[in-house]
C-alpha cells in the first residue's frame, strides 16, 4: 500500500509492522510525532504493545533495556539532547547485547538551544557500541526500521535508525508500506539468548573482573576485556548481517535496495561527494547540474555508519581524483567525523598505505543547526575542487556568514 505521510509516521508504521512489544518514550522535537503516533496505535488497539510514557529519555532507554532483558522486543525514539541524556544507557544497552531499536530524528544539540537539523547528536554517540543506520528518505525510514530489528536480533547489538529532523521527520512524502505478512516472513519472532526468569535465575551485567575467572562449573569465563572484544567482533560481523538483511529484504519484498551505501552516477565519476541522510539525495541534483558543465561528479550516501564498512567504502573511493565529504557534524578542533573515518579507511584498508593512488579527501561542514543548504552553495563549493583546487583550511564551511 502506498501512502503519503511524514517520516515520523513512516518510522512508527515500521515499528508497528515489527510487532514491538514495549515502547517507551519521552517527548522531544522533532521525534515527538513518531511516538505520538505509536501511542495512538497502541491506545486504539491497532497495535498490541505496552506504551510507557516515561519521565525522561534516560528512563526511556532504561525501560527498553529491562524489557529487552525480559525477552520483549523494545523500541524508543529521541533527538538531540534526549539522545545525549541517554548516553550512559546507550553504552549499557550495547554492553548487555540487547537488540533494541531506536529512531533518532537528527537535531542539533545545545547549548545554545536549536530544534533544527544536523547530525551532531547521533554522530557524537559513535563509540557507544550501537549499529548506526542513516535513512535518506521516507521509504528508507520505514524499510530501515524493519531491517534494523533483524540486524539487531541476529547480532545481539542495538541499532539506531537515524533520519534528518524536519527535512524527513516532518515532511510528507509518498512511500510504500510493506505488507504485514511479508514483514512477518522477514522478521521472525524475537528469541532472546536469555530472558529474566525465576525458573532460570541469573544475575545480569554483573561486575566483571579484569581477568577471566571460572564459572560455577569450573569453566573459564570472560574478563571485561573479552566481553569488549566480543562486542567489537559482533560489530564487525554485523557488516555481513546488514548485507544479508538487505538481500533477504530485497527478495521478500521484491525491491532492489543497497545495504551499505547508495551510489549515484559513480561509474565514471572522477570526483565523489560523500554524505549521510537526506543531504546525499540533495547532492544528486548538484551532480546532475555539474555533469552538464562537464564535471564527472558521483554521489555516495553512506547508510551504515557503524560498523563502518571500510573495505567497501575504500573500494568505491580509491581510484578517484578526489573525494569531498560533506557533513552536518564536527569533531571540534579537528574535522568532521565521517571525514576522519574515510581518510582512515582509505589509508589503512582500501590501499596498501598512502600510495599515489590515494585520492585527496576534502571536507566541508554545512547545515549546522538547520542552516539552509542551498544547491548553489553546494555547487560553488564542489566545482573548484573538481577543477583541481584544494580547500585552504580543512574543513571548509559552506554557507558560513561570519
Amino acid at each position: 500500500m502506498s501512502i503519503i505521510e511524514s517520516g515520523n509516521v513512516a518510522a512508527a508504521l515500521g515499528v508497528k509492522l515489527c510487532r514491538a512489544n514495549v515502547i517507551a518514550a519521552y517527548p522531544i522535537t522533532p521525534q515527538t510525532p513518531l511516538t505520538e503516533k505509536l501511542s495512538e496505535l497502541v491506545e486504539s488497539g491497532e497495535m498490541n504493545a505496552e506504551y510507557i510514557p516515561v519521565e525522561s529519555e534516560h528512563s526511556a532507554l532504561g525501560v527498553c533495556i529491562a524489557a529487552s532483558s525480559t525477552g520483549a522486543r523494545a523500541f524508543t525514539a529521541t533527538s538531540a539532547n534526549g539522545l545525549l541524556y541517554m548516553h550512559e544507557q546507550l553504552h549499557w544497552a550495547a554492553g548487555a547485547r540487547l537488540p533494541i531499536v531506536m529512531c533518532v530524528a537528527n537535531r542539533g544539540v545545545g547549548a545554545p538551544w536549536t530544534v533544527w537539523n544536523d547530525q551532531q547528536d547521533s554522530l557524537s554517540q559513535r563509540d557507544t557500541g550501537w549499529i548506526q543506520l542513516y535513512a535518506a528518505d521516507h521509504q528508507e525510514i520505514i524499510n530501515t526500521v524493519i531491517k534494523a530489528y533483524y540486524v539487531a536480533e541476529q547480532t545481539s547489538i542495538p541499532v539506531m535508525v537515524c533520519y534528518d529532523g524536519y527535512i524527513l521527520s516532518h515532511t510528507h512524502m509518498p512511500f510504500e508500506v510493506p505488507d504485514q505478512e511479508k514483514v512477518d516472513a522477514f522478521l521472525p519472532p524475537f528469541r532472546p539468548n536469555y530472558a529474566l526468569d525465576p525458573s532460570m535465575p541469573a544475575n545480569l551485567n554483573t561486575v566483571t573482573l579484569p581477568e577471566p575467572r571460572n564459572n560455577i562449573r569450573g569453566e573459564l569465563a570472560h574478563g571485561y576485556m573479552e566481553l569488549r572484544y566480543l562486542l567489537h567482533e559482533g560489530m564487525i560481523r554485523a557488516i555481513e548481517v546488514v548485507g544479508e538483511a538487505e538481500q533477504r529484504f530485497n527478495e521478500i519484498f521484491s525491491v532492489s535496495g543497497t545495504a551499505y551505501m547508495d551510489m549515484y552516477k559513480c561509474d565514471d565519476a572522477t570526483y565523489i561527494a560523500v554524505a549521510m541522510g537526506s543531504l546525499s539525495l540533495h547532492l544528486r541534483v548538484v551532480a546532475d547540474i555539474l555533469r552538464d558543465e562537464g564535471i564527472k561528479l558521483g554521489i555516495i550516501g553512506i547508510k551504515l555508519y557503524r560498523p563502518f564498512p571500510c573495505g567497501i567504502v575504500a573500494d568505491a573511493l580509491k581510484d578517484r581524483d578526489g573525494i569531498i565529504v560533506m557533513e552536518k557534524a564536527i569533531s571540534y578542533g579537528y574535522v568532521g567525523p565521517l571525514y576522519s573515518d574515510i581518510c582512515s579507511c582509505l589509508y589503512t584498508q582500501g590501499l596498501d598505505g598512502p600510495s599515489p593512488g590515494f585520492p585527496y579527501v576534502h571536507n566541508y561542514i554545512l547545515g549546522l543547526g538547520g542552516r539552509t543548504i542551498r544547491t548553489i552553495d553546494l555547487m560553488d563549493a564542489i566545482r573548484p575542487i573538481c577543477t583541481g583546487k584544494r580547500i585552504k583550511d580543512q574543513p571548509g564551511w559552506i554557507g558560513l556568514k561570519i
Partner: protein, 101 residues
C-alpha cells in the same frame, strides 16, 4: 584455552556459593554454641533461633541443635551478642589454629 568456550557474550552470572571465597577466613573470632545453654538444644524443641534470624550470612541452621557453617561464617558476632541465654561465645581463632595443627 581461552574463555570463548564458555559460550557467553554478556556478563551473565549463575548462582553459586563462595563468590567471595571462603569467607570463614575473614574471621578473627569464632562463635561457639554452648548446647547446655542454647534454648532449642536444651529443651529439644523448635524455639528461639534468634541466631538464625539475625545471621547476616545465613550460615546458622534452624535445627536442633543449631549448627554454624565455619567455612563461610565471617565472625561478626551478632549471634553471640543477640543470644538471649548467652549460649554463644566468641573465641579467638588462634586457639583453634593451634588445636587444628
Amino acid at each position: 584455552m581461552g574463555s570463548r568456550e564458555c559460550g557467553q557474550i554478556t556478563s551473565h552470572s549463575e548462582p553459586g556459593p563462595g563468590d567471595g571465597g571462603r569467607t570463614g577466613s575473614w574471621r578473627v573470632l569464632r562463635p561457639v554454641i554452648d548446647l547446655e545453654a542454647c534454648i532449642p538444644s536444651r529443651r529439644k524443641v523448635a524455639a528461639c533461633f534468634i541466631c538464625w534470624l539475625y545471621c547476616p550470612d545465613g550460615v546458622i541452621t534452624r535445627t536442633i541443635p543449631p549448627s554454624i557453617d565455619y567455612e563461610y561464617c565471617k565472625g561478626c558476632g551478632i549471634c553471640a551478642e543477640e543470644c538471649p541465654t548467652k549460649a554463644i561465645t566468641m573465641v579467638e581463632e588462634s586457639k583453634f589454629a593451634l588445636e587444628e595443627k
